[in-house]
């Protein structure tokens, strides 16, 4: 349904200059009689600007402009980040991403502790969130009695509506004491052999940050998994049941295996969210630029170093180094999100769960 193509020769209009609207192309399918057209051209063919600057074209132009703004914004984000990080890029080059020294006083910047912190906290989050999120999705779509379905789905979505800062607040005052007194000593006692749980249990640190992140990404993973499971054709389930499968066997054989790529996509999308999450992590991770083997030790993430240090950065090189961290964070999340989008798309493509036409 594109715009009706403009015709150079239009039918004579009863009154001439009533509104700009009247110079509008005639309804589709009006027979073009060349004789009338010739006569009208001679007398009052609208001048060229009236056929170009119609309200229809104007409206279309305005909407296109809005759409181009979306492109423009992403362009601005990229150019702004690149421009403002160029100083650090010229000073350190690729060494920025292999150096582990973050010392603003002596002006040496290496981003490895932050890359490590972001990666580890996000991985902890995935390890905790994935089983929970998939269990909720499977339970809601396949197992639970109908009247419970909507309330459970709704309450997981409610988790997504809570702002990051409130997760942070809750984690600081509830999760941190809980971890310090119960969870971390327990981990040290029973999982200490792995070497991942050593050192004093502060409560704040990678493990706590990962746990908060996990609660925050459960709704995303589980709602997309639900979407993916709901497009698995019903006859697949029926076929499995008809062969005598129990419900769990049906879910394993017919549902989960069909939706595998989509579920992986949902997990990667959750990862994308975890990588960029800022405030809640900043409040509980301890903000120490170090690479510790122990998960109980405090760390630092890319997002939280920006949040803590950017506003107070005194010189251009420092600020530019933080911008470069931001650029790296931007690129990583974008790549992760695109990959995830592709994977979800391979499953939902034929019958989109949400109504994207085309």
């Amino acid at each position: 349904m594109g715009a009706v193509p403009e015709k150079r020769f239009s039918m004579p209009k009863p009154s001439r200059g009533r509104t700009a609207d009247s110079s509008h192309p005639e309804p589709m399918g009006t027979p073009d009689s060349p004789r009338i057209a010739l006569v009208t051209t001679a007398r009052k063919a609208p001048p060229w600007y009236r056929t170009v600057f119609t309200l229809d074209n104007g409206f279309r132009g305005l909407m296109t402009l809005a759409a181009l703004c979306v492109l423009g914004i992403v362009g601005l984000i990229v150019s702004e980040l690149m421009q403002r990080s160029s100083l650090a890029w010229h000073a350190f080059g690729l060494k920025f991403f292999v150096g582990s020294q973050w010392d603003p006083v002596s002006g040496s910047f290496g981003a490895v502790p932050f890359l490590y912190g972001t990666l580890v906290s996000s991985l902890i989050a995935l390890v905790i969130a994935v089983p929970l999120a998939i269990a909720v999705a499977v339970f809601v779509t396949e197992m639970c009695p109908k009247p419970l379905r909507k309330p459970i789905a709704y309450s997981t979505e409610l988790l997504a509506a809570i702002p990051s800062v409130i997760y942070g607040l809750w984690a600081m005052f509830v999760l941190v004491p809980l971890f310090r007194v119960y969870v971390e000593p327990w981990c040290m006692k029973y999982l200490g052999w792995s070497g991942l749980f050593e050192g004093p249990p502060f409560g704040i640190g990678m493990l706590t940050a990962g746990t908060v992140l996990a609660i925050m990404i459960i709704p995303i993973i589980s709602s997309i998994t639900r979407e993916v499971l709901s497009v698995v054709p019903q006859h697949q389930r029926e076929a499995a049941l008809a062969l005598g499968a129990t419900r769990w066997e049906m879910i394993r054989v017919a549902v989960l295996s069909n939706a595998r790529a989509g579920i992986v996509g949902a997990i990667i999308l959750g990862l994308g969210r975890a990588l960029g999450e800022t405030i809640a992590v900043t409040m509980v991770i301890g903000n120490t630029p170090q690479i510790a083997k122990s998960l109980l030790a405090p760390g630092y993430t890319m997002a939280s170093v920006i949040a803590n240090e950017f506003a107070e950065a005194p010189d251009d090189l420092y600020r530019s180094a933080l911008m470069e961290v931001g650029l790296a964070l931007f690129l990583v999340t974008i790549l992760v999100n695109i990959l995830a989008g592709l994977m979800v798309w391979t499953v939902t493509r034929g019958n989109p769960a949400r109504s994207h036409a085309q």
Partner: protein, 285 residues
């Protein structure tokens, strides 16, 4: 014929996984309940009239409130909506009515990319675009950052809702000789109104609690400010600073603020879900 043992094993496996899924679901809902319970428990006690009418008292004195943060948040949100909503709806109309070609696909993809950009990065960009040029932090810069976050949500919601309007309605309008701009403005958009409003309010709820993009744009302010050109307080920022402070009194304020913020956001989301969305999709399904 399968042996009794195999039968039993399959039965037990089935029960085990059903129980596991149910148990893990309970854990997730338990986390939700725990968060809300703490918010109400600790927030409700510190919530009083002063919270809504006074600004922060100096350290050591009790009392005071977040009035300046509430007003600041409203101001930033209004600025953001004024920029983000028209742009988002415009781009959504473009995608639904004209966006069949390559440009449409590119814009759709870009909107999805923009949706995934970490909020802290958007804050940095808004800092570069506005704060550097103005040479100081301002409410306007905060508004710009939040507007950027709003646009992709509004765009995709508008597009989806416009596509739910049956094609025959548009064809009927064209058949009557109504030009396209008139069809869109007077027929298609009004029939999708409830759905678009839903999208806008969800976007609003999402940015209302954002802290990271405001850290170096709106920056926060201990005092009253009503000028969009000056640093301004905002509720999420105040909750953040109060939570990190060592004072019990400020912690109480943070919990009260958190409760108000969550009630606002969850209230909006719930309202939208049960009132508008049902009205919109009721006819379409």
């Amino acid at each position: 014929m399968p042996s009794k043992f195999v039968q039993l094993r399959r039965q037990v496996t089935d029960r085990f996984f059903t129980g596991l899924a149910a148990g893990l679901s309970v854990v997730v809902i338990g986390a939700l309940v725990a968060i809300f319970a703490y918010l109400v428990l600790r927030g409700a006690g510190s919530l009083n009239w002063a919270f809504f009418t006074q600004i922060q008292k100096p350290v050591g004195e009790s009392g005071g409130g977040m009035a300046n943060g509430i007003v600041g948040s409203i101001m930033i949100l209004v600025i953001a909506s004024c920029m983000g909503v028209p742009l988002g709806i415009g781009a959504g109309v473009y995608l639904a009515e004209f966006g069949r070609g390559r440009l449409g696909r590119l814009v759709r993809f870009t909107a999805d990319v923009l949706n995934g950009v970490p909020s802290i990065v958007i804050g940095m960009v808004a800092w570069g675009l506005v704060v550097v040029r103005q040479k100081h932090f301002s409410a306007f810069a905060g508004g710009v950052a939040l507007a950027i976050m709003m646009i992709p949500t509004v765009t995709r919601a508008t597009e989806e809702m416009l596509l739910l309007v049956p094609q025959s309605v548009r064809e009927a309008a064209f058949g009557l000789g109504i030009p396209q701009w008139r069809t869109t403005l007077s027929i298609t958009l009004p029939s999708a109104r409830a759905g678009i409003l839903t999208g806008v309010m969800l976007a609003f709820a999402r940015i209302a609690g954002e802290t990271a993009p405001l850290l170096f744009t709106a920056f926060g302010n201990q005092f009253w400010n009503l000028s969009p050109g000056q640093p301004i307080a905002a509720m999420p920022l105040q909750i953040y600073t109060y939570a990190l402070s060592p004072y019990d009194e400020w912690h109480r304020q943070a919990w009260a603020g958190a409760l108000v913020l969550v009630l606002l956001i969850v209230g909006t989301t719930t309202l939208v879900r049960f009132v508008f969305l049902r009205r919109m999709l009721g006819g379409a399904r």
